[in-house]
């Protein structure tokens, strides 16, 4: 792999950039692999990269039904943070943030991790209680997160409306400085390039149509639109399509897939310095390096694989944004899109072995998977390589729904009174 650097750029500038290699190879699939990863999104590609780089398992194929990074990796609002309440979540997401901090250097690809700060607004007494509970738990877990008064919040984010007469006045905010954004496409491409360089096969336009198992139930490979491909182990990292793939292996999942829409404004000069999220007013916003306001909120109400949702959801999202930032009503929506998010009953992911020997699953990231991409790939690779979870993902099992040992981040923010 040719190293990317300012010097390489300068050298290539002299010859019209004709010397760049393909970022990742597109080989024909082999007859079999040690590990097949189903799903070429960020999490799947990261898993393949860490299998190769951390565990020396390079006989790996990533199968992608479309183009890599074309699912939720390329459709999210790129927010990175780790200020989760429970020890298990804080451990997993902060592991990820630590990897984000050096990811560009690790994979020699600028993923533009931008720790510009994530501000989560509190609009009522209950929000304040929940925010402080998070802040204190984060502090004792070594995760940065601090309380801001409304005035301090406005100092950091000047467009914020902190008027006492707002419908839901801002009572303060939790602020994680290490939170921020990263460049979503770069994450997929950077991991693909680094994995490909280590021998991983990245095979696009290859949809999995079946999971083959031996007499003793162990996975032996997958049927695909390009024929059968054998594998000793299969990791399913298929996001919204996880239920569909797992059903091929006879496993019914605690998942539902919902459309999640997002939008960007036209690009403008820098006007929004951090990420702001509000659960009560219900929207989140940041500004991309290109200048677009990047905006999202909740899912549509029905399950769907259409990557399309209703305009009324977008309307409500913008209602919320313009309530918090009344100067933005004259901005214009440039693009909108939808992804398919797989949601678990406790809103926490599943990163685990399955009842099928040799089959592993990484799913259930709901609306917040992008931030976890490096950490998720890292511990999932460990789980596959060792047939045993990493301590960081040990709690994120499939069995927790049976035992009741949930990691219920959503419940922890329960509406009061």
């Amino acid at each position: 792999m040719r190293k990317y650097s300012v010097f390489a750029l300068a050298r290539e500038a002299m010859r019209a950039h004709t010397g760049w290699d393909r970022q990742w190879a597109s080989p024909e699939p082999k007859a079999d692999y040690d590990v097949i990863i189903v799903g070429g999104g960020g999490h799947g590609l990261a898993t393949a990269y860490y299998l190769a780089s951390q565990h020396g398992i390079t006989n790996v194929a990533v199968l992608e039904k479309g183009w890599i990074g074309g699912g939720n990796t390329g459709r999210n609002t790129t927010i990175v943070r780790s200020n989760y309440l429970y020890d298990e979540s804080a451990g997993l997401y902060d592991h990820s943030v630590k990897l984000w901090e050096t990811l560009s250097q690790d994979i020699n690809y600028n993923v533009m991790y931008s720790p510009r700060g994530v501000m989560m607004l509190a609009h009522n007494v209950h929000d304040v209680q929940v925010a402080k509970r998070h802040i204190h738990a984060n502090r004792l877990n070594g995760v940065d997160n601090r309380w801001l008064t409304p005035e301090e919040a406005k100092d950091i984010c000047p467009p914020l409306n902190i008027s006492k007469t707002a419908r839901y006045p801002v009572m303060g905010a939790a602020f994680q400085q290490r939170g921020g954004t990263a460049r979503h496409d770069a994450v997929a491409w950077g991991y693909a390039r680094a994995a490909s360089d280590r021998g991983v096969h990245i095979i696009q336009n290859c949809a999995v149509t079946g999971v083959r198992r031996s007499g003793n139930g162990h996975v032996t490979g997958v049927e695909t639109t390009r024929g059968f491909i054998g594998a000793k182990k299969v990791g399913v990292v298929a996001a919204g399509h996880t239920s569909v793939i797992m059903e091929m292996a006879g496993v019914r999942m605690p998942l539902e897939s919902f459309p999640l829409q997002a939008l960007v404004s036209e690009p403008v000069k820098p006007c929004f310095p951090c990420v702001v999220m509000s659960n009560t007013v219900h929207a989140y916003i940041s500004q991309s390096d290109k200048g677009e306001l990047v905006i999202g909120a909740g899912t549509d109400q029905y399950t769907s694989y259409s990557q399309t949702g209703g305009l009324h959801i977008i309307n409500h999202t913008l209602d919320a944004i313009c309530e918090m930032f009344p100067m933005f009503t004259r901005m214009k929506m440039l693009r909108s899109w939808g992804g398919i998010v797989d949601v678990t009953p406790d809103r926490s992911p599943i990163l685990a072995k399955t009842p099928v020997p040799g089959l592993y699953v990484n799913c259930g990231w709901g609306t917040g998977g992008f931030k976890a991409t490096p950490g998720s790939g890292h511990v999932f690779a460990h789980t596959i390589a060792n047939d045993n979870p990493h301590p960081i993902n040990a709690g994120f099992t499939l069995e927790r729904f049976r035992s009741g040992r949930l990691i219920d981040e959503a419940a922890a923010a329960a509406v009061a009174h």
Binding site: A13, A16, Q129, L311, R330, S403, H417
Partner: protein, 998 residues
Amino acid sequence: MSAAQKNRIAGKGRLNAAKPLRFSFDGKVMQGLEGDTLASALIANDIHLVGRSFKYHRPRGILAAGVEEPNALVQVKRDGARTEPNVRATVAEIYDGFAADSQNRWPSLEYDIGAVNDLASPFIPAGFYYKTFMWPAKAWAKLYEPNIRRAAGLGKAPIEADPDAYANRFAHCDVLVIGAGAAGLAAALAAAEAGASVMICDEQAGVGGALKFETSAMIDGQGGHDWAVATAAKLAAMDNVRLLTRTTAFAYQAQNMVCLVERITEHLATFNADTPRERVWQVRAKRVIIAAGAIERHMVFAENDRPGIMLASAARTFLNHYGVAVGRNVGVFTANDSAYHAAIDLKKAGVNVAAIVDWRDAPAGPAIEDARALGIEVIPGAGVISTGGRLRVSSMLVQAKAGGVSRLIPVDALLMSAGWTPSVHMYSQSRGRVVWDKETGRFLPGAYPQDAISVGACNGAISLSETIDQALAAGERFANEAGRMAKRTALKGGSAESFEGGVSGALLGADQGETVKAFVDFQNDVTAKDIKLAVREGMQSIEHVKRFTTNGMASDQGKTSNIHGLAIAAKALDREVPQVGLTTFRMPYTPVTFGALVGHARGKLFDPARHTPIHAAHVALGADFEDVGLWKRAWYYPRAGEDMHAAVNREVKTVREVGGMFDASTLGKIEVVGPDAAEFLDRMYTNPFKKLEPGRLRYGIMCREDGFIYDDGVVARIAEDRFHVTTTTGGAPRVMTMMEDYLQTEWPHLKVYLTSISEQWAVIALQGPKAREVLAQLVEGVDISAGALPHMSYREGRILGVPMRLFKMSFTGEAGFEINVPSDHGLAVWEALYARLTALGGCAYGTEAMHVLRAEKGYIIVGQDTDGTVTPDDAGLGWAVGKKKADFVGIRGMKRADLMRPGRKQLVGLLTKDPKVVLEEGAQIVETPNQPVPMTMIGHVTSSYWSENCGRSIAMALIAGGNDKMGKTIFVPMPDGVIEAEIVKPVFVDAEGGRVHG
């Protein structure tokens, strides 16, 4: 005609020379005419330099005459707050006093420091930022990113709140027609005359579409544009038609819901403050006719972006509609016939046409003959390989396709046409899959997933007669399908012009060489070379190519660039276009103002505020309010000189010493009626209800099937078959929904009716030693003496002559009542009680005092002391779970292994070692304070207050194994030190519980 408008051609165009108006650009005041766009007015004043490109800051002019404009973006400034970035000059209609500035340049449009990027362009090809700015690691966020951000972006976001209003309407119709060009008008006319209810919209200020420039068009014996104006007038006069101009169909949603945005005031110099600036129409149409036309593509050759280089149809529109010549010595570079008509029209208007360079080897036909007959030189089989000029094009360099000597031809404008791209945006948004027509190199609509059809140029029609035929047939058919067949419409239309043919992709080595810049996407500065680079780096899907190069991702959304990008990528990959990727479009068709989508949902209408029937009394008492869900609840009642702390201290003390009253009207209330009502509640709540006697109350806990606490409340048995159930304030809707769900779908055989009565009853909690004395003065027909009305009883009677449901209960630990009266009487009853209570020294107390009082007794608040992971046992409420019941919601969930596990977090009380220290709610608890981070947390503080009644702080907490740790010391590490506290039972006042019986 003003001398300043040097390019305005007398006798051309449709604007009225007698209606001049003033406008300014970059502070320079100029004159235009009523009906001008900023673009036409600037060109009239011989200004082509309008903006700078996004990345290289190259000087840019006006490419188009419509919404596809990528270059001429300006900041419109009506006043301080009313400013809008990235407005297309080709769309902005000027009014007297209109002002706009150029964007993305410093210090000026003519001399822009950022243009250094253009010199550095060899170092910053597509995707360069992925390959550098990685050293040192921290520098990205600190140094590189801020600089990139400053350089990027175009216009500036407003910084003041928007004073304008926006509106929203819903509409239904038989037929919605998108576009009011020849196709749309003909289709609408056919549908309307057949009797259908029709809506027709067009994004432009006037109707006509391409008829604005297509001068040879004749319809129904009239000139095309005259026919369009007359037809629009005819349609507008029909009762069954709504014609909307300046109205863009931007979203095609499920089941034929099409969303339009109508621009109402932006083109006006003055307007009423309450007139909406824009209005979104959500139209549910039985049938949709898409008549969106086609968009001309530019030619991709080196240096194709200088100001003065524009689409041929744009030049023709400026001439034929606005009466403006785009130059005095123009060149043309085309691959089809349609650009010839621009040359012919300009020549006839007195503009010199330097040459028509035709990519085709042997162009022939009437258009070519006409051009030659006018003395225009036609250079076939050749292309423009470069251009000259800095802030405006000054020459074109022409070379035969076969190579050889190139020829420099001076020009002051260069018109291009690579062909016409059908506007399949709305079709694609309707979830249709476009089909690649290899022969003509176009994407056309395929099968229709919804009840819609495309007609005219967006459906691939290349002549006016074909367009009219398609449109009439569609209009008639859709009207008939809606059951309307009043009249058939006949129209004949035709034109000598054809819109077929063209090329896609880069021409004559425009994708070669080291410094060649042949722009595909002007705004994002994407060149043909960039697309080839993307392919070389392994981007094989058009989606990867787009994302890597940002081609088609600018504010024009690739209207002119997408097909070129596809063609270049396909050629580089040696594949057919559809194998590289199909074009799919998502809403919006053009950028849509946030405010229009928000509509009325701003400020007070963002979310309705709920007020109790007693709200006015709280306002009169000077209460401060807190938001609880949609409710505004009285939080505390500060008196002169009191802060919140002092007010709450007074309120809680007064309640225990004298008495207090509290507005509990926000509680959810459900009446459960029917012979099986008790059986139903027995199943819904963990508690048993069948044996509850009429006239008695019971505290109930509701779980979900998972066994965690979902809601709680007091249930009154009013009669054998009738219960009055209360829920938490926030839980009211979800509890009602859950009850209905079980009743309707699990136990439909139970004879029960549920009625939400939350809004029917105002509730006043009257608590404290004097409560009975106060109440006794006002009630009739009910004996409220201690012996007759024990704690947890229910009676009906009258108070002040109005019906009353009286709950003898307490959420304070004092003897108390909750008095339910019909909402309309709530305020009067409150005021009567208040007068008598305060005469005895009592007071009103708010939600904060309520919280302190209940915490002093250890009563939980669902959602504060529980969080969806707490079982009844965890909360110390195991007694409320009916052990003998065969079934209830949650019975199985709470028996799962983890919910039965010893050492779960249990609700306990906490007393800080230092009684003055009040713990922070949400603070985390550890067993040993001197651990390294990450610490092992055993729980957290759920409720914590200064208790004036106890003279010290009190708290409740969920602590792992808390019930077994009574008397133990725990630690709360805070940033400024560790707080020690002792685990106690969560009862801090009247542990024996005698006071409630007082």
